[in-house]
């Protein structure tokens, strides 16, 4: 017997803000999370690569790995903190879907917490103990990286399983033990790879910024950082264009159609994303010739626009796949205006405080 499609009802309590506002907050905070995650995960992959290339302590690859290892823990902190907000807004808008997929993959989703604690300590181990770890330093780094890759894989599983509504009932009735993943979904692999490779490209760009700042501060080690960073950025963006196309092909037909004229915005986003990808690659190759004298602002702006485009495409895929199962127009809304204002004021105040602290820190470190 074919089980029916089951979708939980939306929460009985009204939403405290219009859906569009929550969507904006979701996308905005997700963008911040994405940038931090890219720096962290991409940086960690680059660190591991550098460690493998390695050599003696004075070799440029080793020095690069040492430098990167120092900042990873703080990047994990930034990723986690910036990840909380989009997860909150996701659960607010898409709770019906997100809670269900989380339960179906219960152990996998729960594992994220445990694995993250170990992975996070793994980065501190590299940062605080460093050379004292001796021969186990690189293997330990490899394990830490694998743990983070596992976490990313669980996120890709969950964010795609929450859309795979038609499979839920069969999964649950086959076993309620929370051992499912979304492995049968064709879009899982490209979705995950797109994210991981993209993170290395973005981290490469950041590394180039860091290297250039070092060169300008008369530290010659910066030159190498720019080269490595720009290589990562350019080559992985190139590969990611292909993965992106695979990701597109793996979509269900009705979603693909949206991007091929079925929906003007979706089609435009697809076009912009594709063209931007090519422009980024070409600009990356051309810029790389200039070494540390490279102009990074144009590339960075292109990348930021590309990230926003990708987030919006992802949203189109999400809403397109859910189709009639997700009807935000029917959600009851009772705006809590005062609370929204309080939040906004706190956020602005918090940002001011944050910049003040970072500025103090920056000045002190450069003294």
């Amino acid at each position: 017997m074919m089980p029916a499609v089951i979708v939980p009802a939306p929460d009985a309590l009204p939403l405290p803000a219009p859906v569009f506002l929550l969507q904006i907050l979701l996308h905005l905070t997700f963008l911040l999370h994405l940038v931090a995650m890219n720096a962290m995960l991409g940086g960690l992959i680059l660190t591991f690569y550098a460690r493998l290339k390695g050599g003696d302590p004075s070799a440029p690859w080793t020095k690069l790995a040492d430098t990167l290892s120092k900042v990873t823990p703080s990047l994990v902190a930034a990723t986690v903190t910036l990840g909380v907000a989009p997860l909150l807004f996701l659960q607010t808008i898409y709770g019906q879907f997100f809670f269900t997929s989380s339960i179906l993959m219960g152990w996998g989703w729960f594992s994220v917490v445990v694995v993250l604690i170990f992975a996070y300590y793994g980065t501190y181990l590299q940062s605080f103990k460093g050379r004292a770890l001796g021969g186990s330093r690189t293997p330990l780094l490899g394990v830490t990286l694998l743990l983070f890759l596992w976490i990313g894989f669980m996120f890709s599983n969950n964010t795609s399983l929450m859309l795979n509504v038609k499979e839920w009932a069969a999964m649950y009735f086959a076993s309620p033990k929370g051992l499912h993943l979304n492995l049968g979904d064709a879009q899982l692999a490209p979705r995950y790879m797109h994210m991981v490779l993209g993170s290395v490209a973005v981290a490469g760009l950041m590394l180039a910024w860091w290297g250039r700042a070092r060169v300008r501060a008369a530290d010659p080690s910066g030159e190498f950082m720019v080269t490595v960073g720009m290589n990562a950025f350019t080559w992985l963006t190139l590969v990611n264009i292909l993965i992106g196309l695979w990701y597109y092909v793996a979509q269900p037909a009705h979603v693909r159609k949206l991007f091929m004229g079925g929906d003007i915005t979706a089609t435009a986003l697809f076009g912009v994303g594709f063209v931007l990808g090519i422009v980024m690659v070409v600009a990356g190759f051309r810029g790389s010739k200039h070494g540390s004298r490279i102009e990074l602002w144009p590339l960075t702006m292109l990348t930021l626009i590309q990230l926003v485009t990708m987030i919006m495409m992802r949203d189109t895929v999400r809403n397109g796949t859910l189709g009639a199962d997700f009807r935000p127009a029917t959600f009851e809304v009772q705006p809590q205006v005062l609370n929204l204002v309080i939040f906004a004021v706190m956020l602005v105040g918090g940002l001011v405080l944050l910049f003040w602290m970072l500025r103090q820190f920056y000045v002190a470190w450069n003294r």
Binding site: L25, V80, I103, L116, Y120, M346, L353, R367
Partner: protein, 524 residues
């Protein structure tokens, strides 16, 4: 009901408890410890006490590693876990309090950033700025408590929110202020405990004595604050009608309350030692102090959680996800029709229907062999007994959510439960006292206690075993909720002995006093 249910061998409640008790201990340390850091640093700076300053710096690394990694991630972990075990409750908390969580997130963010700047800023930032960052850290951490405390206490005592569903009415609810006091002092107490740990690793000498006494002061005086807050909390609670819950209406509660009280006393007493005689203090004692502190905190949180039974949000939503406002509709429609995740197979298989109903309505609190395990009961019951008890669950003293099964659904649940009955007949204890206790647990004890909630202690006063035995024949005719006695001859004999001993003749060994309240401690 609305969401699928994760079938966990140990039970969802246990998973939540493990994650949250560890988190709560460390997260309170993150608050109180933040205050300790900045206050102690200022003291060191004012007195030009370089030893003390080095001690603070050393402790701050431990603080960073424990609170930033374990503390922060396990906090996200609670959220993840409650979303898996109680998605309906989590969703309701998020819908009602999105802006509360969003505000909390701002301070969480500042807190984490400040902790990093504070740690990496040692000896780089000038003293005033470093202290200012310390205060920013503590301020942000404390405000995040101020916010979360509103949402947590709301779940137990939503107060006027039930009428107006207003954010702030629910936030500043009847237990908000006492809970904030308890948690604030708990934070500084735990700060004292963990800094005593750091101090125990110092070489013995004057400095170690001085810093041990300082830290012990934090622990001891804060514990007095916690105790004061606990008295206030108890008087403010007002949700446990006539304290029925504490009398055994919620079986586990009286025992946990006992642990909590004893834990408070031991923790406070232990903290006196390093305050008065720092020389006696050592690593072993600090380990004991931390473990007792953790268990006491766990008991406190458990009390709050268990005290909410059978609700996730008191008076609004049952732990099964059923809304109080929805009960009439569920009663009309039946349990299966009100649960979404009933498999198509259930239409043709009674056992499958029973299984799916069990998952939807029972699994959230019960397991078969672990927490709130049902198999030990099933082992002693026959099918007729289970069938007679299924419709009565709402009346049992564990305060279960209402069950509105149709006859068909009751039969299906019974059929499924019988498949979980061990194939061998349940072993009857050879020890007479254990047998008497078990005979009580699986019959009268389901709804009554000896001397607490719905007490039976006076009911059989002066009656002979024969009279009690005769009463069992008539027990089904007294009130609708009470079934006829259903035990085997062996169980019946043991139960009669239990009921007879409950109220012993004067001068005899006081059995009842030896187990006040009977089996209140048993989880159910």
């Amino acid at each position: 009901m609305n969401y699928p249910v994760w079938e966990l061998p140990m039970g969802g409640g246990v998973l939540i408890a493990v994650v949250s008790i560890l988190h709560v201990f460390v997260s309170h340390f993150a608050i109180g410890g933040g205050l300790w850091l900045v206050v102690t640093e200022m003291r060191a700076n004012r007195n030009r006490d370089l030893d003390l300053r080095a001690f603070v710096k050393r402790h701050s690394r431990f603080f960073l590693l424990l609170t930033l990694v374990f503390g922060a991630i396990s906090g996200v972990g609670i959220w993840t876990t409650i979303g898996l075990v109680s998605p309906h409750g989590t969703s309701a908390l998020i819908h009602g309090y999105v802006w509360g969580w969003a505000m909390e997130w701002v301070f969480f963010f500042i807190e984490i950033a400040a902790a990093i700047v504070y740690y990496y800023g040692w000896d780089k930032l000038n003293t005033n700025v470093h202290e200012a960052i310390g205060w920013i850290y503590f301020g942000a951490a404390f405000i995040s408590l101020v916010i979360i405390n509103g949402i947590i206490t709301f779940m137990l005592t939503p107060g006027g929110w039930l009428e107006n569903q207003n954010f702030w009415t629910g936030f500043f609810n009847p237990t908000y202020r006492p809970s904030l006091v308890i948690r604030t002092f708990a934070g500084t107490a735990i700060a004292g405990m963990f800094t005593l740990l750091t101090a125990a690793n110092l070489a013995r000498g004057n400095f170690r004595g001085r810093v041990t006494r300082w830290n012990a002061g934090w622990a001891f005086f804060s514990m007095l604050g916690v105790i004061g807050g606990a008295f206030w909390y108890k008087s403010a609670i007002g949700v446990w009608d006539a304290n029925e819950a504490l009398l055994g209406a919620i079986p586990v509660l009286p025992v946990v309350a006992g642990y909590f009280k004893i834990g408070l006393i031991i923790t406070t007493a232990l903290a006196v030692i390093p305050l008065l005689v720092p020389k006696l203090w050592n690593k072993g004692l600090v380990a004991v102090l931390l473990i007792v502190g953790l268990m006491t905190m766990g008991a406190g949180e458990w009390l709050r959680e268990a005290g909410r039974k059978p609700f996730v949000i008191n008076g609004y939503m049952y732990s099964t996800g059923m809304l109080v406002s929805d009960t009439a509709r569920v009663e009309d429609a039946g349990m299966a029709a009100s649960a979404r995740w009933i498999s198509p197979e259930a239409a043709t298989s009674e056992v499958r229907l029973g299984h799916d109903l069990y998952l939807a309505y029972c699994q959230v609190c019960h397991t078969m062999d672990g927490y709130n395990g049902l198999r030990p009961f099933l082992a002693q019951w026959d099918e007729e007994t289970v069938a007679s008890l299924v419709p009565l669950t709402g009346h049992m003293r564990a305060l279960m959510p209402p069950w509105y099964g149709t006859e068909e659904e009751n039969a299906a649940l019974t059929a499924y439960l019988m498949t979980e009955k061990p194939p061998e007949p349940g072993l009857w204890p050879a020890d007479p006292v254990a047998a008497e206790q078990l005979a009580w647990d699986i019959s009268c004890g389901l709804c009554h206690t000896v001397s607490g909630f719905r007490p039976l202690i006076d009911s059989f006063a002066g009656q002979s075993p024969e009279e009690i035995d005769g009463f069992l024949d008539e027990s089904g005719d007294i009130v609708d909720e009470m079934p006829a006695y259903f035990g085997t001859a062996e169980q019946r004999a043991a139960l009669v002995r239990f009921l007879h001993k409950m109220n012993p003749p004067e001068g005899a060994g006081d059995q009842a006093a030896a187990r006040p309240g009977g089996n209140e401690g048993r989880d159910s």
